[in-house]
Amino acid sequence: MSDVTVAAELKTEPKLVTNQLPAAEIMGESPLHHADLESVAKHGPQEGGVHFHERKLMGLLTLRCMPSAEQQEVIKSLLGVALPMQPLTSVTADDSPIGKVSVRWVSPDEWLIIMVGEKAFELETSFFEKLMGHYSLVNISGGTTIFNVSGRHVVDMLKKSTPVDLHASEFPVGKVVSTVFAKSGAMICRVAEDQFELVVRRSFADYLWLWIQDASREYGLVVHH
């Protein structure tokens, strides 16, 4: 058994890249569409220790790669920011070729790239055209959504939900972990002192939304739209 090696020969791989979004007039339904967060936000409590917001219909791409120096350079030019090679770190750039982008380390050969939904195909295309060698880039926008949770009790709520240590000394802003969340999973990124983003799978979104409501109950949950 040997470790995974990178292909020596660099060329564009024959893969299928297609735009998956319809014209703008067709409205997408996010995984929490049925929960009608808009009216919850309007009619629900406006004060509380935990705030919740679904960053819906974002563009999310999974990049799998063991990037060579050359590939890293290309990726940097496409993303406008270097891939975070340190485990459990993330980077963001506001002025990348595809606008605001966040790149999160998932594993030594995996990153999650988050941008606005409309830009995903553009980035996929530029990768396909520019990045040589072995890699895979997969659009998972439809299968994923992002919960933004914040507030003075957000850490308490998260402590009920995940076994990772969220203390600021262990989990600073910018850190990202994939972990257990209740009986499902989530990728958790601390985006500010008291603000986290949870990347969750579509089919589990309703369960996790129920869970978060339940875990936030004693602190008061404010939903934003």
Binding site: E13, L21, G28, E29, P31, G142, K183, R202
Partner: protein
Amino acid sequence: MTQDLSKQSNRLQEGGRIDRAKPLTFTYNGKQYKGFEGDTLASALLANGVDIVGRSFKYSRPRGIVAAGAEEPNAIMQIGSTEATQIPNVRATQQSLYAGLVASSTNGWPNVDMDLMGLVGKVGGKMMPPGFYYKTFMYPKSMWETYESYIRKAAGLGRAPKENDPDIYDKMNQHCDLLIVGAGPAGLAAALSAARAGARVIIADEQSEFGGSLLSSKETLNGKPAAEWVAEVVQELSGCADVLMLPNSQVNGYHDHNFLTIQQHCTDQFADRAPNGQIAQRLHRVRAKWVILATGAHERPLVYGNNDIPGCMVANAVSTYINRYGVVPGKDLVLMTSNDNAYRAALDWHDAGRRVVAIVDSRKNPKGTFVEAARERGISILVGSGVIEAHGNKRVTGVSIAPLNEAGDAVVGPIVKMAADTVATSGGWSPVIHLSCHTGARPVWNDDILGFTPGKTYQKQLTAGAINGAFSTAAALSEGFSAASDALSHLGLAKPERVLPEAEQIQESKAMALFHLPHTKPTSKAPKQFVDYQNDVTAAGIELACREGFESIEHVKRYTAMGFGTDQGKLGNINGMAIAAKILKQTIPQTGTTIFRPNYTPVTFGAIAGRDCGELFDPKRYTAMHAWHVERGAKFEDVGQWKRAWYYPKGNETMQEALNRECLATRESVGILDASTLGKIDIQGKDAREFLGRVYTNAWAKLPVGKCRYGLMCGEDGMVFDDGVTSCLAENHFLMTTTTGGAARVLSWLEIYHQTEWPELEVYFTSVTDHWSTMTISGPNSRKLLEKLTDYDVSKDNMAFMDWKSMTVAGVPARVFRISFTGELSFEINVQANYGMHVWKALFEQGEEFNLTPYGTETMHILRAEKGFIIAGQDTDGSVHPFDLGMSWAVSMQKPFSFIGKRGMQREDCVRENRKQLVGLKTIDPNVVLPEGAQGVFDPKAPIPMPMVGHVTSSYWSANLNRSVAMGFVKGGLDKMGQKVFYPLADGRVIEAEICSPVFLDPKGERQHV
């Protein structure tokens, strides 16, 4: 201050940590009593002079409160003011008193004070030595269940509620540098030191207030009452952001790698139902870098005749009730001790203004600070003597005292009887080593302190204070500080300054090893001398067990049930071991060691379950079209965690009517299935094709771009575990589908082989199950329907069977796969899931003219069964290979790489004759549907056990064929076409069926090729 303390006959006018300004009314056994805020239920009962709190399990003897904490064996109560809020088996010594508390004793009939079972216990008790039930109730054989029903009548302490629990319990995951268990002097000293050094600290204590032993003694620290120092420390700790203080919280389990569980009582200390939706209890799941056990010690009572009569108590409990609760639990005290420490009980009793009849000390020449203090007060001390028996029935009325020999194991002089209503005893202290045992550390006996101390541990664990035998406050403080210093240096944190309060200097003379007091009669004939109160284990019982050959302490415990109560032998285990050691003529360490398992004290099931119950028990996974299915009135089937539409009844349709309608509509026009739950894996890389060839049984080398292929996946044993269609999206790009239930397993399967066996293959796998919504339109009109929604040419010529194409459907970019699980012309439309509902609804808008009919998993099953298609998991069970399934066409033995499963399916047993093979089954009576799971036989007249030849895996009523269809395994079935199989059923029917091809409909496959 004078309060109306009427009826609280044992309450002192002052003193204690109770708030006499806050009287509380509570109910015990139907009668109302008063206590104060700060009381436990036990202290309030004692204040009111309640003697009997229960009846013993086996002999039904009256029992009173013995202790003041977690070690209490007798005061086990039923609590709850309503049916739904009943709590069984609450230890009264650990339950805070609150207004309106309703408690009752858990056994005794008709009640604990006048218990008729007690008579039975007295008469029958003689016939109930340990293990008596192994020796009787055997004859006649048929009578055991009758005997047992009587035994069961006596079972149990409290009762479960009959209604569901209205409370909620939750959990929190905690991480810390240092978890300190116990907030007595050692724990507080440790916490203070660690907090000052900036460590992340959790300190938990089972009591409602921090302070431990300091709360129940009259000791001073820095010349002031110790409680003042406690208050200062608590104040300082509560100002530290990284210190979590958990009173009312039992650390109940110490698991591997410093994982501990803490049960925090949030509201159940104040109410039997959490007010206003609050959390009743919270379970903290703690991962600690270091742990300091500062769990203290429990005082051991002595074992003597009738030592269970109410009024017999542990010495320290007497002090605790006086000093902490302002309750003197009696009038006339006899203290029996083998050590100095217990003298404090007599001093406290005396200082509370009640009479100390005598201190009976087994030692010849006690001297020390407390002994002198007793002498100063003029308390009579009988040295070299022992209380050998208590007298009384429902309360102690007196004691027999006798001079003892040097070893304390024989009576050597005349008996003196004295009147008293309370006997406090002390045989020394047993360190609370329970938690240290949980991770497998074996305790070691320490002769100096006459107790077990924690053994070698593999955990990052330190111990401080009485758990190590450092019983004095000064020593505990010092050990607490030292343990914290050690932990901090391990953690790389700065060592704190040593700032400890000045404790009193107390001289104590050496304690004597005394556990079991002799009697003038041999143990077997003496009045019962209880070791384990809750399970009625006596010294005579232990001796009998040893005599019968149960010599290992584990045998003794199991034979007598010692230590198996809800107190887990906190009071009795060491005494029991000492008694066994003596009769076996061994030392205590030779006899064995004492082992404790989680929990330290019992933990509410609800708290362990946390929020993972009811609606949140397990995730419900939904597809993007779920809301539509709900609106359409679908019934759902649980498939793994998914909620899948099962069928869509209309009006008053029965299930079968709905299925018939769905099946016919699909074959006659067009039906639609939400197939989004199928697992989907995006596979990219130049070696993707090679990889597929290794994990599937068939060939993938030549699958062209734009084509789909069905594949079987086997384990290394050659047995089928999943199947699905994989499509070639581009030369180096594939989309694999898996079964709904197998998705996660297949992805792991691919990853483990890639990461550990074939890392040289350039390929990546990414799950896209949730990314695509999948809707299958199936039936002769499916093309016409699709044409209405797309401009793309979906004609047979442009899009052949097993082709896939990119196109726009209802305005949404889609990948459409012309594959079929029904045998009909079918298109599987995949769109980005955020647009699944849009396309689904558009299909229905356009599908009206074709009577587009939604169908669920059941109709899908029927339609595929008509075609003889298998479902992995239903038609396979991990014991069948592709050849057993008659699917040799899906295996390519010629591939260069020995694919997974190839070698396994060629083992001797896999290629033998007469294996069970999957075949079609046609019932002779077409109207009879074989039950799935029916077992076939060739000879229905054979005697039981009948040789079985295989079971029915799939069986349905086919509305399309107007007859039943079935598949099942039959031994050698593929060679037995046309032969009969018989299915004897539980209801006596025998169904006859003929072996046939599993393809019941359209054997040439013409319908899907149009």
